[in-house]
Amino acid sequence: MPVSELLIGGLLLGGLYALMACGLNLIFGVMRVINFAHGELLAIGALSTVSLVGGYAFPFWAAVLLVPLLTAAIGLLMYKLVLQRLVHAPMIMTLLATYAISTILVNAAILTWGGGYKGLPGVLTGSVQLLGVNVSVSRLVAFLVALGTSLAVWWVLEKTRFGRAVRSVSQAPELAEISGISLDFVRNATFALGAAMAGLAGVLMAPTFASDPQLGARFLIKAFAVIIVGGMGSYPGAIAAALLLGVVEVVGGYFTGAVIGSALLFLLMLAVLLVRPRGLLGVGART
């Protein structure tokens, strides 16, 4: 039955969106920075996986561990070199800065891997039966790891001391500082974590989708749509919205064609921005 197939397909895609969006949201929450370069971290994650696993015959699980470290390092570099200096700057300057960094990263990716598509065949092949639907192993694994990681990070945010520090910096930086939390450490750590999550999403995508340096832009806009629908700054909102939008994209795409299908996400985002800017669960967006 196509409907359940579509639904499951949508949810599986949503899991990846959740991982992307949660990382983006973390960074936004702590730094009020919309990280335009997040998509590039995803692309670099995917392409690095292709190189490691496809080119150097690393096992896939090694990529799962190593590649996020790489993207975390890139993220830290971004923060230390550029964004740290812009902490008190007007938002538009940080937006422009991350926008600029994203173009630099795209260029770097094109130079490293060429501009074409790269697949990763032979990894996580095969399919399983899930609720009467044929599901590819790679998508299922991607979904489980992505959603699992998102939920794990959520647990860290809610239940650990570090998570509490992150949340207090998000909500009231001055108060957090007074109570002894090192703003700098939290920002560094959050940025690295968010970047790692983007990289991980890239790793998980590599076996299923074809990777190219422009992958970042496409995914980024969808991640934006997710956090706007879910509510900027709301972590559970991002997860819920990700799953919802994954379904919308797949189901919508089935009925209206792939091109309009991806436009549906943006239309939903625009509708939310105009009608309920807070999103499902987030903070305000209106003037």
Partner: protein, 334 residues
């Protein structure tokens, strides 16, 4: 007055290029003029009013396709198609502006970005009309001079309009919106009306230029019409040049076009990275742009001179021109 003289001189110089320049020079100047006009338009809503956004290509693309469709499907000559494309831009900008300008800073910016992607998808999708990804082909122009002159005139119009704005109370009101919209609103500035009006005006030239560009290239397709790189370059120009100034887009367009040419010649693979780095350097070390630096050093006449002029005539205030602000991204909290 000095400012106007400089602008007219630049315009005059541009007008003469087809007569002494090579075809290559003409092409180069056309590209530069296109970016200059886009930059001046973006400067209105982004630089003066403070509503920066990543969606100007919406109007460029819609204008481009409107023009191309009018020419190919209805056989209208390009010089009639261009104003109609501009009209289309306005028709799109009015409802869009009223809807989107209700959003705060980054949401507005991203919303416009998303809108550009939506429009790109639609154009790609309705391929029965637009030929989708293949693009539309127009008959190549035998003579580029009319297009060239139209662009120069358009650029001059934008420059002079910006100059008039810079020296008017309207300009001050837009700046007030940029600085503190709520306070401006509470003090009687009609912010909604002004924002939407400026947004609509900022859409006219891009739409017209889109159609002109399509005629010039003889071709248009979704990536060309809604190119994020074009968006990035436009913003880079205004930022590098100086947001909310009269000379900013002019200087930025010239500088970036020259860098562009040099890069394409020597390092085509590094173009994106270099533009990106330039923007980063501008954001970090020169957020007010080249022009503000130049004004501080006295190389360019200071901006917004109307009030000083009137004060001088009133006889009460000393006629000392104010040096522009230091290059410092940090804003002092009032």
């Amino acid at each position: 007055m000095k400012t106007l003289a400089i602008l007219l001189a630049a315009g005059f110089l541009a007008l003469t290029v087809p007569f002494w320049g090579t075809d290559y020079a003409v092409s180069f100047t056309i590209q530069m003029l296109v970016f200059m006009i886009l930059a001046y338009s973006w400067n209105l809503i982004g630089g003066y009013t403070g509503y920066t956004h990543f969606g100007q290509v919406c109007f460029f693309g819609v204008g481009g396709y409107t023009g191309a469709l009018l020419v190919t499907k209805l056989g209208i000559a390009w010089y009639f198609a261009v104003p109609l494309a501009a009209l289309m831009g306005v028709l799109l900008a009015v409802p869009l502006g009223m809807a989107m300008l209700r959003l705060k800073g980054p949401y507005f910016a991203i919303g416009m970005f998303g809108l550009a992607r939506v429009l790109e998808s639609f154009v790609l999708g309705f391929d029965s009309l637009t030929q989708g990804g293949t693009g539309l082909y127009l008959t190549p122009l035998s003579n580029l001079k009319p297009v060239y002159f139209t662009l120069v005139v358009l650029a001059l119009v934008m420059m002079i309009a910006t100059w008039r704005l810079d020296n008017s109370r309207l300009g001050l009101k837009l700046l007030a919106i940029r600085e503190d919209e709520q306070a401006a609103e509470a003090l009687g500035v009609r912010t909604t009306r002004l924002k939407v009006g400026t947004f609509v005006v900022s859409a006219i030239a891009p739409a017209a230029v889109g159609a002109l560009y399509a005629a010039y290239l003889g071709f248009i397709d979704p990536p060309t019409a809604f190119s994020p790189v074009m968006e990035l370059t436009t913003i880079a120009i205004v930022l590098l040049g100086g947001m909310g100034t009269v000379f900013g887009p002019l200087v930025g367009a010239v500088v970036l076009s020259v860098i562009n040419e040099l890069l394409w010649a020597r390092f085509p693979e590094g173009y994106l990275a270099i533009v990106g780095t330039l923007i980063l350097l501008a954001v970090l070390f020169m957020p007010r742009g080249i022009v503000n630096l130049a004004m501080k050093k006295g190389w360019l006449p200071a901006g917004r001179g109307l009030l000083r002029q009137l004060a001088r005539e009133d006889g009460r205030a000393p006629p000392k021109p104010a040096p522009p602000l230091a290059d410092d991204v940090k804003r002092v909290q009032a």
